[in-house]
């Protein structure tokens, strides 16, 4: 089974600062990868997904971007954070059986 690693676990950043959240996958190759955002007590909002190296699909236009420089690495970035970017960010991978495996998440607070 695959394992999703995410870091950092928590992050406090000022408005206008850059962002880089990293996600790596262990235990499988060429997985579909996903970035979700979750507001407190709310559901999951899909931000980006990737079916392979360099292949990124955006679901929600915003000031965030994603990249997949290696098969098992998925990065979420921003050049200038907004207050509205605060939230809980989850990286996930899809197994061949279509199950989603989630990382532990990153709690981002933009001040």
């Amino acid at each position: 089974s695959q394992t999703i690693h995410q870091w950092p676990a928590t992050l406090v950043q000022p408005v206008g600062s850059p962002l880089s959240l990293e996600c790596t996958v262990e235990g499988t190759s060429n997985p579909n990868l996903y970035w979700y955002r979750q507001a407190a007590g709310r559901g999951l909002q899909l931000l980006f997904y990737s079916v392979g190296i360099g292949q990124i699909s955006s679901e929600v236009p915003q000031n965030l971007s994603a990249s997949r420089p290696q098969d098992r690495q998925f990065i979420l970035s921003s050049k200038k954070l907004l207050l509205s970017d605060s939230g809980f960010y989850l990286c996930a991978g899809a197994s061949p059986n279509y199950e989603q495996y989630f990382g532990p998440g990153t709690r981002l607070t933009v001040t």
């Binding site: 579909n32 899909l46 899809a94 279509y98 199950e99 989603q100 709690r107």
Partner: protein, 114 residues
Amino acid sequence: AQTVTQSQPEMSVQEAETVTLSCTYDTSENNYYLFWYKQPPSRQMILVIRQEAYKQQNATENRFSVNFQKAAKSFSLKISDSQLGDTAMYFCALYSGGSYIPTFGRGTSLIVHP
């Protein structure tokens, strides 16, 4: 477009009792998969149970079982002998063949009282 609806934002149950969480869905695909995920206060999402649409038998994982009603497009989760550790958000999810994107419901917050 496919949809997943969880009509119960919050539920509570006494320890050792049984609780059922509701989920309805809609898809035009014949080949699809349904899932229940648990998100405890730690916020780590964990797969609880899965059901393939082509299987008539309801899936069971220990104290967790589903009632899959394909014609009614209903996929409820039953938790038997509820434990304090079952306190969590529960998300129903649908994955249709041919799509890379799963659809999640908005979640049901379950609190188990001692």
